[in-house]
């Protein structure tokens, strides 16, 4: 190759480079800010697009020189480096090499600082997955904080990302506040000076409140910076903050804080739910007029319904009595089968009748459109217009309702309102104090607190009957009853006869799966008895008792007589069963299912106490070597009194005769009575008061 050719080629290259430079400048010259001396420029084509799409590093967040250096140093192999590092991180986690996992994640932060999912996934991984690998809860807490700090770092690099702010809020609130170790975590979080710094006082260090702060930051970012909400629906996104306040209020009560502080917390929660109800929430439906997503407000449902009702009323005013007339016409068209189904009370309807009645009720609905359609004269067009608007209002109310159900708006709002009442605050305080006393073994105080707590809870339920079907409320009331039951059980006591929550126990009984069959079998038994079919009655009684036994397992407080009404119903049933057995000449079976339930009643019956007392006093004479005649006569009388009382007990609880422990006690008393009689040269009377007991157990004893 000659030197000339080589030189010529170099010149060509230079010319080409020279030609490309302007094109490159047009495409890629950077943006310049305006200064006092010089006017700025919007930059080249690429710079403008980047600026419009908010993709420049300065717009994304903090610029990290290390990260930029590494991105450049990888010479376009950044994805491969990221891939290798991810692989290494997964391997480190698998092999529980936490030090190198941290180091690898640290490197990854430099390689892909603007990948939001990276921050979210690894932050969650550290806080939720890695933390649980540790057995010591203090180390677990450290890893939760690591996860939080990790996402915070990501937030610095991506300061226009509400998802990361929301994630931080979630981990601080939910992970710390809901983990198995939440008591320990919450305490450590409060005392963590390193995390909070000195700026935040200890009273502000509740994890739910701090989490709420981060949710607030996320909302502020969306509201002030016009950043779109991604990942969550707007409603879910906005509901996290008031939920944090709810959880905070609940948590401080769990920690034993009541009174004004708790009340204020619940009031704040209510106002935050109310604020949420006033926010315009975009829906998935497009408004036909504006062609934009239709907006609703959760708090507007009642207003929509009121407006619709007013419109219906106005339509009715145009043709009074027309709606009733249409309804009557529709009713007249119903078939006999439909009418029968509708006229049958709901509890007595068969499955098919339920379906038919529902269809018939749908047919009987008279819409505003139907009424308006029959309005005559000058008001007709107004009526039709009103009917259309009323339909729209009702649709809006329905949609609002479905959006409310997404965040359980009605429930939480009601809860916030109820929780701030003095009755519930008192109930919660008493139950908390009862729990504390129970845990420390102070059973008398625990019993007292639970009793008063039950009264307070009943007041709450009377004030807010809509809470009764609520599952959360049911669980809390059940906690009071079961704790009270444990306390009474350990003290060998029964629920007081006027137990305040007895009506709630009745609801529990009614809700138990086996209650309807138990009652059905009892009815069948009574019917068979009335018809004189003793075998059928006996079988039905047996089935009813078996079903009641399952009810007792579902509502264990009944065993300690929490609801006297139900207790009486079951006890009467056993009496009736005993009567049938007696009539058919069969002994009462030993393990008939409710023996422990009856035993508790026998044990706590006043007659039993009196019978025992008399027998104990009379037995004392047997310890004497040579008792006097008077003493023997007094003992004789005492035994007679005791046995008479026992007779009354057995008449009151006929199934008790089948109870082995009661029978042993009775046989022992009879034996002692015989000895007293022997010492007086007497025998048991022929018509002995407890002859049935002797007949049943006497032989067994002899054998």
């Amino acid at each position: 190759m000659s030197r000339n050719r080589s030189f010529r080629r170099k010149i060509i290259y230079l010319v080409l480079i020279g030609l490309l430079l302007p094109a490159l400048y047009v495409l890629g010259h950077p943006e310049a800010q305006s200064t006092e001396d010089a006017k700025g420029s919007r930059g080249g084509w690429l710079a403008q697009i980047r600026s419009e799409q908010k993709l420049s590093q300065a717009q994304l967040g903090e610029i990290d020189p290390t990260s930029e250096t590494i991105k450049l140093a990888t010479f376009g192999l950044r994805p491969i480096a990221a891939n290798l590092l991810w692989h290494k991180a997964i391997e480190c986690k698998k092999k529980k090499d936490w030090t190198n996992l941290s180091a690898t994640l640290n490197q990854l932060t430099k390689v892909q600082p603007n990948i939001i999912e990276f921050w979210r996934f690894q932050g969650w991984n550290l806080a939720y997955n890695c933390s649980t690998e540790f057995d010591d809860y203090r180390q677990r807490y450290r890893w939760v904080i690591k996860g939080i700090e990790f996402i915070k770092l990501g937030q610095n690099y991506n300061d226009r990302e509400p998802r990361l702010l929301s994630n931080i809020g979630w981990i601080i609130s939910q992970k710390i506040g809901r983990a198995d170790e939440h008591k320990q975590f919450r305490k450590m979080f409060r005392e963590d000076d390193d995390y909070h710094g000195m700026a935040r006082s200890k009273s502000e260090r509740d994890n739910w409140l701090v989490g709420k702060e981060w949710y607030q930051k996320a909302e502020d970012l969306v509201d002030t910076e016009d950043v779109p909400i991604t990942g969550d629906s707007p409603l879910i996104f906005r509901s996290k903050r008031p939920m944090c306040q709810m959880n905070y209020s609940e948590a401080i009560e769990e920690d034993g804080t009541f009174g004004e502080k708790a009340k204020t917390a619940w009031e704040t929660a209510e106002s935050e739910w109310y604020e949420l109800g006033q926010l315009a929430i975009p829906t998935t439906r497009i408004d036909p007029t504006t062609k934009k997503p239709l907006e609703i407000r959760l708090g507007d449902r009642e207003r929509h319904l009121e407006k619709a009702a007013e419109m219906s009323k106005e339509i009715d005013s145009f043709a009074p009595g027309l709606r009733k007339k249409i309804l009557d016409e529709k009713r007249a068209k119903l078939t006999a089968k439909q009418l029968k189904a509708m006229n049958t009370p709901p509890p007595e309807r068969s499955e098919e009748q339920y379906r038919i009645a529902a269809e018939a009720e749908a047919l009987l609905v008279v819409t505003d459109k139907e009424v308006a359609g029959k309005v005559e004269g000058k008001n007709r067009s107004r009526a039709l217009d009103l009917a259309k608007q009323a339909r729209l209002e009702r649709e809006r109310a329905k949609m609002t309702n479905s959006y409310r159900s997404i965040v359980n708006y009605d429930h939480w709002l009601l809860r916030a309102q109820v929780e701030q009442t003095d009755n519930l605050l008192t109930a919660r305080r008493l139950v908390y104090e009862g729990d504390e006393a129970f845990a420390s073994g102070n059973l008398p105080e625990a019993g007292e607190k639970y009793r008063d707590g039950s009264v307070a809870w009943m007041n709450v339920l009377a004030q807010f009957p809509q809470l009764i079907p609520d599952r959360d409320t049911a669980e809390q009331v059940d906690h009071v009853i079961s704790q009270y039951q444990k306390t009474l059980d350990q003290r060998d006591e029964l629920f007081p006869a006027d137990f305040a929550l007895a009506p709630f126990v009745q609801i529990q009984v009614a809700d138990a799966n086996e209650t309807p069959p138990a009652r059905d079998f009892a009815k069948k038994a009574q019917k068979a008895l009335a018809e004189g079919d003793l075998d059928a009655a006996r079988a039905s009684f047996r089935d009813s008792i078996a079903a009641w036994n399952k009810v007792l397992a579902a509502v264990p407080s009944l065993r300690l007589l929490s609801d006297r009404k139900t207790v009486k119903e079951i006890t009467d049933l056993t009496r009736a069963y005993a009567a049938v057995l007696k009539n058919t000449g069969q002994p009462f079976p030993e393990n008939f299912g409710l023996e422990s339930f009856i035993w508790v009643q026998v044990e706590h019956d006043a007659l039993t106490q009196a019978a025992r007392k008399a027998a104990d006093k009379a037995t004392a004479v047997l310890d004497k070597k040579k008792p006097s005649k008077e003493e023997l006569a007094a003992a004789d009388k005492g035994f007679q009194q005791s046995l008479a009382d026992w007779r009354k007990v057995l008449d009151k609880f006929p199934s008790a005769i089948a109870d082995k422990s009661i029978a042993d006690e009775l046989m022992m008393t009879i034996e002692h009575y015989k000895q007293v009689l022997q010492k007086q040269d007497k025998k048991l009377p022929e018509k002995f008061i407890l002859q049935d007991v002797v007949d049943r157990y006497g032989k067994a004893k002899k054998s």
Partner: protein
Amino acid sequence: MVIETPQYPFFEWLPLSLMSFLLVCGSLLAVALVFGYLVAALRHGPIRAFTITARAIADGMVDLVSISPRRVMALTWLSIKDSIRRRVVVVFGVFILIILFAGWFLDPGSTHPLRLYISFVLPATSYLVLALVLFLSVFSIPADLKSKTLHTVVTKPVHASEIVLGRMLGYIAVGTIILAVMGTISYVFVLRGLNHKHIVTQADLESVGTTQEAPDGDSEAPQSTGMQKGISGRDHGHRHEVRIKADGRGILERTHDHWHPIVRKTENGETTYEVGNPEGMLVARVPVYGKLRFVDRQRKAAEKGINVGDEWAYRSYIEGGSLAAAIWSFEGITPEAFPKQLPVEMTLGVFRSYKGDIEKGIPGSLLVRNPKTGLTVEAKIFRATEFETDIQNIPKEFTITPSNVYYLDAIKVSEAEKHANEEKDAKDEKNAQTAQADGEQEAGEQIASYKRREAGDDIKNKGKLDLFEDLVDGDRVEIWLQCLAPAQYYGAAQADLYLHAKDASFFLNFVKGYFGAWMQMVLVASFGVMFSTFLSGPIAMLATVGVLIGGFFRTSVIEVARGENYGGGPAESIIRIFTHQNVTSEANPGLQTDVAQMCDAVIQHCLGIAARLLPEFGQFSCADYLAYGFNISSTWISEHGLTVLAFFFVLFVLGSFILKTREVAR
């Protein structure tokens, strides 16, 4: 520290490795001779080819034995000067840059800071030196050929072997010097990076201890005992609990793998606290490892413990509240080696099947058993700490209580049972054999299970047991680990429990750590020079990089060669990638799959041979030992050193022969 590949004692390893080495060398020699003969036969006919081959061997042998150290030294020096001319010093600049920016990657708050620092500096140094030596070695001889320098050299009375050896030694020398300098810088970096002092003030502490009555006895004013406790200031991302004794001396409690001494000073009525440098971090523990085996919940010998569902099956688990135990058999336990006590160090895994008491660890016990007599003592009750080294010192003397001493008698497998095992189906037989292999061998017989027997009065009346007299048989002892909480589990691997014999010098350990990197560098230099004797520079570099990558991923390559990975061999995998097939399902039957699998059979065979010839580069790194504070044993050094020497020798001979056969060298 995790040790996934067990290390054999040197004298067990040597004959096996030597045999393997000779076998491979012999095979290579045979292949080379056949290949050489065939080439010569094609060019000069079969009879002359025989003479040529014989002469080549003879010349080669003469060439090898007549190496002149003086000439080799001259050529080595030439290589060093050549390297300096190529501005190797640039690598220092890169290294200093990396060290300067290292702080951005290293989290000072790490719970194991030494691990973090070592796992950064050692690989960084190692990779830089490997890259440098790679570039130097692969381009040297091709550059000499291109610049005709080699033609001048071969006109001198220099053998080809001397040229190759000179080049190899030269570049190794350059790499060694660079590694030494970088190692020194790294050592200073680690020391400075880890060194820190916490601030402790009067406000951080509170007085503790029983208050004493004033000396006059009348006053009720309490007197401080002088003992204090509290929390230190934050430094390097952590704080310590502080405990100061009445005499004013105390410690900042152990956390993040270290502790600090602290002294209280009072001058002019003002109290200050002087905190010392971190201690207990830069250590090189000398561990005595035992051989691990298991017994199940009925105390029957088991191959392994329970798998609790961990993806990584390194640790095997024992069930709590049962008779299951992990048993380590130790040798070399003498009063001279452990004069004060038996320091047991453990890093256990904990698996809870239910939450239990969150605030307390899972309790466990350590039993010490005499492997001969079966006499066992419950030595320690402890609560496990996961991912931390738990230190339990077993005393030399045990006070006997009614329940802490008993016998665990080994029940041996009878001949009849052995016979019954043989009758079982193939799978069971295999399992039984594995179990036997791992089971205890006591007096040449295998143990099936253990049975508890109460100690007699002769033992109970002694009052105390002596560790070495009663529980150590010769120099052997067993340590049994049991989990005491029912339905909770302890996980353990062989290296998870060891006896801490003594501490070696951390500095020397650091040097040994760099010796691992040095060995990798020697291998790269040797491969580079060997390849450069017959390949052009860039191709030689690719070949060496290939060896390097293959060596680092040798285990994976062998898995592919054995067909143990999912998705079939390379050809089948390519088809799966392009047809988006699941790797776990059977390949679609058909001609395409058949052809791919046939190709794979050939490729896998070749891969298998190639992988077995490669050095396992990862094994030469001992960064983990250094990072976890364990002494790198002389056995490790000798075994790996010998392996490197063997590779060096083979590559040198291979390079010499190849260079000799090239036209230019004649």
